[in-house]
Symmetry: C2
């Protein structure tokens, strides 16, 4: 009795096969050819390894090689479908190329971000993929200084020279605003958060630019980036109620839109008759909603592919050869026009409903 759980070791393999442990290691690491190990031996090793289901001990291997084949993924909120999707795509591709992903959410909290980066460092991740919150320049500099390959996405840190993949949010909101204007909506509001991060500012700027070109005044609501959904709904509710001339609204991110839809519903406003709606970032719900919501869609597949390609490229690079060239990629958005932003064909044929609109 006692512990019966003895794992098979490389030693056991070597002993059983009466070859040296180095031979086994070499074969297992695909270096049989270059070490001129006979095919016969190589085959015997492989066969026996297969037979007993031997798996090398990752810990020992990593300790020896200094490589863990693990990538740390630090996102804002893994339960947000945008991040969940990108993370899933990244994980899938990384897996195929022999890398594992461990992820964590920062909730956009700098302290938590720092803690997570430091935790991943302690765990010796080979590389980082980070959706940076504000104020973590120092930590990111530190990992860069250590030559750990790192890619940022969704936003970047303007003060730092790094790889990053972002989306041209300004262009996205610009197009969306033009689309609304073309549909005849003249009082377009923009609801965003109080964050000053690059991606949020860009989205706001695109909207402002479109209006400025037409010499129309912007109408901007910044809500606090709170976790309290009722509070957010109330905020948006108040804003819409106070601006009864407003006939269209663009939300700068998916969860704001969801709360916005709830606020609009509580105000008993009809979309798009009373208020047109466009959301930045797509979501299952926006497709399913009645009416379907027009969105500025981000190219999630492309984001994921770029992120992982760039990271793996640098991971494969011999570590002594400094990583001089940083990639910065800006991807385009796509305006997906659905019912929520399209003018209705005049008084609806089946005239019905409609109650308390603005007073």
């Amino acid at each position: 009795m006692s512990k019966v759980k003895k794992r098979t070791l490389i030693n056991d393999i070597a002993n059983h096969l009466e070859v040296s442990i180095a031979t086994v290691s070499l074969v297992l690491n695909g270096k049989a050819k270059q070490s001129r190990i006979s095919d016969a031996v190589a085959e015997r090793v492989l066969k026996y390894v297969q037979e007993v289901g031997y798996k090398p001990n990752h810990l020992a291997k990593s300790l020896r090689t200094g490589k863990t084949h693990v990538i740390g993924l630090v996102v804002e909120d893994i339960s947000n479908p945008f991040f969940a999707t990108v993370a899933w795509l990244i994980e899938k591709q990384a897996f195929e190329r022999g890398y594992r992903i461990i992820y964590c959410s920062t909730d956009n909290d700098p302290a938590k971000s720092k803690e997570l980066i430091s935790m991943f460092r302690e765990r010796h991740v080979d590389g980082f993929i980070i959706v940076p919150s504000e104020g973590i320049e120092e930590e990111v500099s530190a990992i860069l200084r250590e030559q750990t390959p790192t890619v940022l996405f969704d936003r970047f840190l303007p003060d730092l020279v790094t790889n990053y993949i972002v989306v041209d949010g300004a262009q996205g909101t610009y197009e969306a605003t033009l689309h609304l204007l073309e549909q005849g909506f003249m009082n377009i509001a923009f609801v965003t958060t109080d964050s000053t991060q690059t991606q949020m500012e860009a989205r706001l700027n695109g909207y402002v630019r479109a209006l400025e070109e037409r010499q129309l005044p912007p109408l901007i609501k910044r809500v606090a980036a709170s976790k309290d959904s009722e509070q957010l709904i109330a905020d948006i509710h108040g804003f819409i109620k106070d601006n009864s001339t407003c006939d269209a609204v663009i939300f700068s991110t998916n969860y704001l839109s969801i709360y916005g839809l709830e606020a609009i519903s509580r105000l008993q406003l009809q979309i798009p008759q009373d208020l047109a709606v466009i959301s930045y970032d797509d979501h299952d719900l926006f497709r399913l909603y009645t009416p379907a919501i027009t969105v500025i869609a981000q190219p999630v597949e492309s984001i994921a592919k770029n992120v992982i390609d760039i990271l793996l490229e640098q991971l494969q690079q011999p570590s002594d050869q400094a990583i001089a060239n940083n990639h910065s990629v800006v991807l385009p958005t796509t305006l997906v026009v659905r019912k929520s932003s399209v003018r209705q064909p005049a008084p609806a044929p089946a005239a019905r409903k409609k109650a308390a609109k603005k007073k």
Copy 2:
């Protein structure tokens, strides 16, 4: 130049302080007292360690001690708010007690579950928390045989003696059904998936039992556990349309309810006037929806607490002392009554709206 990234090692500490490396190690592991190391030395060590920000190499430590302080969490779908919440709570508590969580989603796919379990095993996790999909009895047996502490939750594997935390879903749906009957809804349908897992069967059984007691016939729709949301919506849409006498419906899980709400909305049915709705499992959306949706809420905090407490208890146990006693915990649900399941007070005072009801 060249690699300047040298990390501080325990060696460096010992050298600098002119003490032995063992002393440093002992102090760092809180064994100063029991090894009768002078407080003076202990303090010097701690101070210097702090100063240079020394962090022991986890890999080396784990290789030596055989403990990684990592727990593998295998859930069905981390982007489902139920699992996301429980995972988050578990992570938080584990963190405080020095354990890290790595998680992965199985999508309820046995092959993927097996792969993940095996991956976690290779990574030498100290313990497992698993939401088991069907058909993974063998893999779970294997980790149990290796004496790796394991806790299942949400459902269990009837053929296996393990720790598990589940919820009394049968009681939950039973109460929900009675509530609907009391409200005067007489034709209550139950929409569930085609899964035969313990938790889904229990939820169905509670509903059936309640109706049987009143000698009412059950009306059950099983939809395929597909990923295609349009397909699911269409399925539910068809079911409701074909059963026009049905005046209430219980959905067996949160995402079914979401698709169900979409189907109901497309059918232009009013909740609860035309159709009352109850969802198993709460969700932000159900609170926010108009009307708010009645739910059978699961005690997420309690689930998380039980899971982690039991796991940590076994993790702390000296490994040679076999883990004889398995815990099985069954927690109660709570019926949270909201507008969607409450009879309206006769013709609504503010009479308005309402269009095409069933034809």
